[in-house]
Symmetry: C2
Subunit: 428 residues, 2 copies
Amino acid sequence: MMKRRSGDRENRRKGKSLFPASPLPRFSGSRFSVPGFKAAGIACGIKKNNKKDLALIFSEAPATVAGLFTTNKIKAAPVLVDMQRIKKGVCHAVIINSGNANACTGKKGMTAAVKTVTLIEKALDIKKGLAMVSSTGVIGELLPVVNGIEKGIPKLIDALSEEGWDNAAKAIMTTDAFPKIAFEKGKIDGKEVSMLGIAKGAGMICPDMATMLAYIVTDAAVEQNALQNALKNAVNKSFNSITVDGDTSTNDTVLALANGKAGNRPVGSKQYAVSSKDYKTFCGMLEKVCLKLAHMIVRDGEGATKFLEIKVKGAKKEADAKNIALVIANSLLVKTAFFGEDANWGRIMAAIGRAGVDIIGEKISIYFNNTPVVKNGSGTSRDKEADKVIKKKDICLTVDLGMGKAGATVWTTDLTYEYVKINAAYRT
Amino acid sequence: MMKRRSGDRENRRKGKSLFPASPLPRFSGSRFSVPGFKAAGIACGIKKNNKKDLALIFSEAPATVAGLFTTNKIKAAPVLVDMQRIKKGVCHAVIINSGNANACTGKKGMTAAVKTVTLIEKALDIKKGLAMVSSTGVIGELLPVVNGIEKGIPKLIDALSEEGWDNAAKAIMTTDAFPKIAFEKGKIDGKEVSMLGIAKGAGMICPDMATMLAYIVTDAAVEQNALQNALKNAVNKSFNSITVDGDTSTNDTVLALANGKAGNRPVGSKQYAVSSKDYKTFCGMLEKVCLKLAHMIVRDGEGATKFLEIKVKGAKKEADAKNIALVIANSLLVKTAFFGEDANWGRIMAAIGRAGVDIIGEKISIYFNNTPVVKNGSGTSRDKEADKVIKKKDICLTVDLGMGKAGATVWTTDLTYEYVKINAAYRT
């Protein structure tokens, strides 16, 4: 009994999700590859019904690696393993299973995670310590290493291909309605470079996103520090702008691997400052890939019917703007009002006021797309126009605080009957 | 159009609420009174369909007053008026309207609030500056003073009676399914003293409680400082334990009035220390009254089907315990799991881990009533028993962190389809 209920929402029924609108194409087949990287996704029996549940990302040569991990105090065993291993700054392969989170599993869970990386290192014949591991799925159950992962590894390695990303993206899904993949090309130091990311996660703001995993690979050469800083910045503006800071699961992981095969001088190296144009190009690419993946996660929000961009400007500090944007996006009353297509600006004003930021009510303006509904803290009587805007599927809510020049944007969805249904009834 | 939609949920359809279980009797008629106080509640036309929307609390003599107000940066005009007036430490009358929050109404709103207190002072022939005012209802609309409150005042004063509390409790309701009133008796300094509280509010934890108003009157004699401290403590353990700190509306107000008619030596006076047994008795009474009212607000949670007590013990500090209890109570996944009657402890573990408190997963135990579902951070396989417990209407979830001796308790409800329906569709 306990097997099918604890933790993540593996076996849960999934509601209809928002179809990703352009420019966020639904992934269809293996169109992308990055020189020097291969990927695979297969079924090894952790999930039922022969669903894909084991993925592998392999770099021909050891790649520079950067990573960010859950801030949850309850960390799954694979997260603890990766947090140790990332200190080396180099990674050769990442193995990821879905269907089991290997969280709240004590010492046996640690043994299982270590066994997993050891097995893949041997099978790939790579140096000890250079494989990393992630898990996502049910909390509280022991990971089936011998009868699942170990048996699956030969098939997994056989399946490795430069175009294996679609299968890898599918194999890391849990409650996701669709696989998530993003791709960018750019020019760095005169060389053409590629970047590809896959992610899993389905959620809207407010506690309780499912585990979020993302892996980004690039053939650009990047120094480890520069890669870590670029990743931190990109995650802040993407994944951390679709969730509240600290609102993390036991397994959240973002890894970026750069194998240098493009042949550019390493971004961030001494002769070649971090402030360079190429570093900015690299950061821009990474931010785009992360943002595309983050938007797909929002569009996959459980039962969501609307994609909401919450833009706060006119703040004194960026952190103030982000705080307010997150409180609005996190407000159940605001989210249900959007679901009900009710341009209820009073709920937005009340949310702004409780963000703990110094604001002046009489300076606030609020827009639904381009329609002003609040000016100087009072209603504009433009509600007929607002009524039209709120019927759209993609809506931009802009709040101008009138206090300064800083701003921030976050993304979320509405809150629907479907969300409650999915999360209340996932065992049935 | 804007009139019926902004802000509070005045005209919203109300879902079926949890019937208050004993020992929280549903209020039925005017059974309670406190010497020296009168109350009234009438309809003055702010609400439609001749519903009660204007209340008055009157003390024969000026009473010592203590108060706590919303921490929302957007404060309604009546809150700003009261925050000034409470500095006097004395209050003779409180007038409260429902159906209109007088929030986000600019200078005209301030004029309306000041006009309201001036009118009631004149009509009652009391000293200027000794009346206070609260409003609750729609945000963003001008309060109808001349055609509502002013016309209603004579009828309101006519209706004043020692047993008028039921009508007052009804007149401050907005989306509430039932009026909320609590009563306590006790002995202070050898004198029998009474305490009565009324409140409005309907909500569950997680952003967006409707405005919470509470008024507590007592014939005990209490010094202003002692009253303020006692109120702060009582609110912390009651109203602030059913909501997240800072999760406040534009109008939240709690006032306590003590008229001294019982004839006890003033609690908290110099000759008669704050550490006295009588101060403790008084604090205990105030805490009980506030807790009863707070529990009624939780039971009135929109669409709620379960009343949940979340008890965290074994913490190093009380603040840690309260943080964790609030994060659990605030988790949509936990709340929907209770609605779905799914003893999903993985969701509870993940919530504990993201509260920002230093904990050790392996020390945690979790109980559903008396059934242990987690011991030393891992599942107990007692899920059949847990399945029975989770079908009950009143459930106590206990988390033992195993770190220390501090604890805290908060109360909440499950999250249901009905909540989304009510809040999405309140205009229809």
